[in-house]
């Protein structure tokens, strides 16, 4: 035999390579950025549903997290700043059979896109909205966001943020979201389970993912990426079913994470088609 013993069989591929546009990897996210982990978790969740890939579509807005749509090997849309949710709503209402996932950031979904978010939640639009919350505008270099903690430093609040941040789970719940969860990128398995549940169920599902932005938030606020992850490990408390009003982000007091809300309510497309197409075969 002349077989070269060092020559191994074809190198195994990463288990998510079938869902990634590998020709676009490495992605643009910085070293230590958590978006990649949240994105990977989302892909694992999609895979775990067992639903045919061509029934999925991913929509995102603008920003670091919003680049996710460009790396998923599914029909995907990278739209305008803040407008991922209405774009996704159009897709959902025109073809209710699709599983529509919105993957975007806190700046995109809650500042410029805040109005769209609350209305889609009110309608219980059947979307899975994943918000990577890194507490800042990463893409533009670390400006204050609607989620930046009070007194935190940013390029536009150099003396500390004078404003209060949104409590995103509370906002989602108050607006009518029927599934509300918060995890961190460290709680990857729980996060994957939550996204998987959100995809399978019907209704407006909102999952906030706390994620470090070491370059544009951590650096100005004296937090190295591993320190941020340790905060996620040591200063979070899993409390499923807790009132979202208690979900403020304050790592000094401890941050509650978990699945806060999971209720049934008829969705926008169900109600529309039941009301307006009562005689159709569907």
């Amino acid at each position: 035999m002349t077989t070269n013993p060092k020559k191994t069989a074809k190198k195994p591929e990463h288990p998510l390579d079938d869902l990634i546009r590998t020709d676009r990897i490495p992605h643009i996210w910085c070293s230590g950025c958590g978006i990649g982990t949240a994105f990977s978790s989302c892909l694992s969740a999609i895979k775990a549903t067992g639903i045919a890939y061509n029934r999925f579509t991913m929509v995102s807005g603008i920003g670091c997290s919003a680049r996710g749509a460009g790396y998923i090997k599914l029909d995907s849309f990278h739209t305008t700043h803040g407008r991922a949710i209405p774009f996704a709503s159009g897709i959902k209402m025109a073809n209710p059979d699709l599983k529509v996932i919105v993957f975007s950031g806190d700046g995109d979904l809650f500042a410029i896109g805040g109005n769209h978010f609350i209305h889609a939640a009110r309608r219980n639009m059947d979307l899975t909205v994943i918000c990577v919350n890194n507490l800042t505008y990463g893409m533009t270099g670390g400006q204050v966001a609607a989620t930046t903690p009070s007194m935190a430093k940013s390029t536009t609040t150099p003396m500390g943020n004078p404003d209060a941040p949104f409590n995103l789970p509370l906002l989602a719940y108050a607006s009518g979201a029927t599934y509300v969860a918060r995890w961190t990128i460290l709680h990857t398995r729980d996060l994957t389970t939550a996204i998987n549940e959100a995809i399978i169920r019907k209704g407006f599902s909102f999952i906030e993912v706390l994620s470090p932005c070491p370059v544009n938030y951590g650096r100005r606020n004296k937090e190295k990426p591993l320190e941020t992850l340790r905060l996620y490990q040591e200063r979070t408390i899993i409390k499923n079913g807790v009132n979202p009003a208690q979900a403020d982000i304050d790592f000094d007091k401890g941050v509650v994470i978990g699945t806060f809300i999971d209720v049934d309510r008829s969705t926008c497309d169900d109600r529309y088609y039941a009301t307006c197409h009562p005689c159709s075969d569907d």
Partner: protein, 381 residues
């Protein structure tokens, strides 16, 4: 359940005629936000879309309305929105997205008087330059101007056909008078309505490139779920649709976006001539102002002037070649429009000093009286 094409004679306003044209053209998704004087389009679509299995959604604002119709268009549906001035301004951002991503969709703008909130219930034609250049960046799109309810029906169908054929947003630039005026509208038999569907890809999925142009410069367009795993972005992109942050990619993309319109002008541009055979004075007009022009031409002829009317049905892309060739053989142009000079400057540019170009405009709120046009003819010719 009424059919998609309501063949017969109707007494309806222009807004409703736009909606009926859309349904007849195959529009099956409509997202909008109420605004005077375009609300009736939305109201009628809300009533009619269930008849044909379509979906209507009233969005939270016009930004969302425009986003929703672009998203819905990628499911394979023909989609439309309607609005007026302030809402049109809000749509500009995503109008650019539709241009950049080559998404077919139709926007009805029932113009009112601006700037800002202006005269919400009164007519105007002040959005014509916004229609051309309102979104940021350089681009081409198509804008049509109906001048009667009957025309609203046909121009909306034509808007869908052009939009599907060239994968470009098409604007139907109506105005308050056309939109709110009720007249007889004849809806023909469905077989006589020619419809165009967007080119669909064929061939191997693994070799598919989202923006690889076909023979007329337009790339075939798959729908979500067809298995092509498309990526659609408003960033400058290459033929695969992937973001490409290079000046070369920008040049290539712009050449495609502009080329598919600029190289098909004969198909896209439509005009109508009235008593133009021996005309020396050409009234250029569009939309409701065409009626001013028609009356002015007849009366000018009675007074001994060789006047004719050129009606722009397609306003953008502008019929440059036609105006240039007319300019070489006439004394002058008078552009009649309900603003203080927008399309007029385009006419003046194309007249290029070969013929005089004058404006009969109005600050807005009312149709221009033919007397004003006649006075200008008497003054200048």
């Amino acid at each position: 359940m009424r059919p998609a094409v309501l063949t017969g004679e109707h007494y309806i306003n222009g807004d409703v005629a736009c909606a009926e044209g859309a349904i007849a053209a195959g529009c099956r998704f409509f997202g909008a936000y109420p605004i005077t004087p375009a609300t009736e389009v939305a109201e009628h679509m809300a009533e009619r879309l269930p008849d044909v299995g379509g979906a209507f959604i009233q969005m939270e604002d016009e930004i969302a309305a425009m986003a929703s119709i672009i998203g819905a268009a990628w499911t394979g549906a023909k989609t439309m929105t309607s609005t007026s001035g302030p809402g049109f301004s809000l749509m500009m951002e995503n109008l650019g997205l539709a241009v950049c991503t080559e998404t077919p969709c139709v926007i009805i703008n029932v113009q009112r008087t601006g700037p800002s909130t202006g005269l919400p219930t009164m007519t105007g034609q002040g959005d014509m330059m916004q229609a051309r250049w309102g979104s940021h960046g350089d681009y081409e799109l198509i804008a049509l101007a109906p001048s009667s309810p009957q025309d609203c029906f046909y121009q909306t169908i034509r808007a869908f056909n052009l939009s599907e054929k060239y994968r470009v947003p098409v604007l139907v630039m109506a105005d308050e008078i056309v939109g709110h005026m009720s007249e007889k509208v004849v809806i023909p038999e469905p077989e006589t309505i020619h419809l165009i569907e967007r080119p669909k890809p064929t061939g191997r999925r693994d070799r598919f490139k989202l923006y690889q142009p076909g023979p007329n410069g337009v790339a075939p367009m798959p729908s979500i779920g067809d298995g092509y795993n498309i990526h659609v972005t408003g960033l400058t992109h290459d033929e695969r649709g992937y973001p490409a942050m290079t000046v070369e990619a920008q040049q290539e993309m712009m050449a495609r976006l502009k080329g598919k319109i600029r190289n098909n002008l004969d198909d896209i541009i439509e005009t109508e001539s009235y008593r133009m055979e021996d005309a020396e004075i050409v009234i250029v007009s569009y939309g409701i102002s065409v009626r001013t022009g028609l009356s002015a031409v007849d009366r000018a002829r009675e007074m001994g002037y060789k006047a004719g009317l050129l009606r722009l049905i397609t306003v953008w892309p502008f019929p440059e070649t036609m105006i240039r060739s007319i300019a070489s053989r006439v004394k002058g142009f008078i552009t009649v429009e309900i603003n203080l000079g927008q399309v007029h400057y385009e006419v003046e540019r194309c007249a290029g000093g070969q013929a005089a170009a004058y404006l009969v405009g109005d600050a807005g709120g009312k149709i221009i009286h033919p007397d004003k046009v006649l006075a200008r003819i008497e003054e200048k010719f």
